[in-house]
């Protein structure tokens, strides 16, 4: 498993995911819009919970886990077309990151690319956040 995915796997474990769930989510290609073996009552909620965790992981990696910023993560799951996740900062009313991706056949490479994309956007947003924090104060 690659570096970033490995880090994400450890993070998921700390959040209560068991080893078999982590394996199904991160090690194998998904057999649909979400791994069949993990499907709950509502596939959209399953997708959204995972997108939320991806974004939360990216936020903690970039801003740390004790940031005083007021983040809001909004996952919008869809099993037919692309799903979306927004990372917002509510004190400065800023959209920090936005990911649009179809989760069908999600595989380790795509998941890692998505996390990298989120991290990159969040790193970029730091400049914008400092300007806006300064301007707003």
């Amino acid at each position: 498993m690659k570096g970033l995915l490995n880090e994400f796997a450890k993070w998921l474990k700390k959040r209560g995911y068991d080893q078999s769930s982590i394996r199904a989510l991160l090690f194998k290609e998904w057999d649909g819009a979400y791994p069949q073996e993990l499907l709950g009552d509502d596939i959209i909620r399953d997708i959204e919970n995972f997108l939320y965790d991806m974004a939360q992981f990216a936020v903690e990696r970039v801003f740390g886990s004790s940031s005083t910023l007021f983040f809001s993560i909004v996952p919008l799951g869809d099993y037919e077309t692309a799903s979306e996740v927004f990372v917002l900062e509510m004190k400065t009313k800023t959209v920090l990151a936005n990911l649009v991706e179809k989760t069908w056949r999600f595989n380790p490479d795509v998941i890692e690319e998505c996390i990298e994309d989120l991290i990159e956007q969040l790193e970029e947003s730091k400049k914008l956040l400092s300007v806006r924090t300064l301007t707003d104060s």
């Binding site: 809001s72 919008l76 927004f86 800023t94 959209v95 947003s125």
Partner: protein, 138 residues
């Protein structure tokens, strides 16, 4: 509640978008959604679609329908038995224009009207912020 005021305006807007106008109780009519308390059996996709319509109506009310200066996106999360969230975002300037947090399982006309007023007020307020935030700054 009659068809006057902001809810009446919203009902007309929904009608233009293909919703039934009469309060027939049919799920896809504006009557069901607007003038009766939601019974909690509404499924998330229907509720999210409707909350999205409320946000889009508010956007058109404040910014007009033909303005392509902005790239407005609406993100809605409906939760049964908990607070739903609505966000109106402007993507060119990466700005959150409005946000709403509301218990919508048993949404009633009064609460709906209050939510529309809240969204419109926040969107009006956001005009100042948008004037300061140029896409070129990003």
């Amino acid at each position: 509640m009659g068809n006057e005021g902001l809810l009446g305006e919203f009902a007309k807007w929904l009608k233009e978008r293909g919703y039934g106008y009469e309060a027939t109780g049919a799920r896809n009519s504006s009557g069901f959604w607007l003038y009766a308390e939601w019974d909690g059996s509404i499924v998330s996709l229907e509720a999210e679609k409707f909350l999205c319509e409320m946000a889009r109506f508010s956007v058109e009310n404040v910014f007009g329908s033909g303005d392509s200066t902005f790239c407005i996106n609406v993100a809605v999360k409906w939760r049964r038995g908990s607070y739903s969230e609505v966000y109106v975002l402007e993507m060119k300037t990466k700005t959150v224009l409005a946000d709403l947090l509301e218990e919508t399982s048993y949404f009633c006309p009064e609460a709906m009207e209050r939510c529309l007023e809240h969204l419109i007020e926040e969107l009006e307020e956001s005009k100042k912020l948008l004037a300061l935030r140029s896409p070129a700054d990003l």
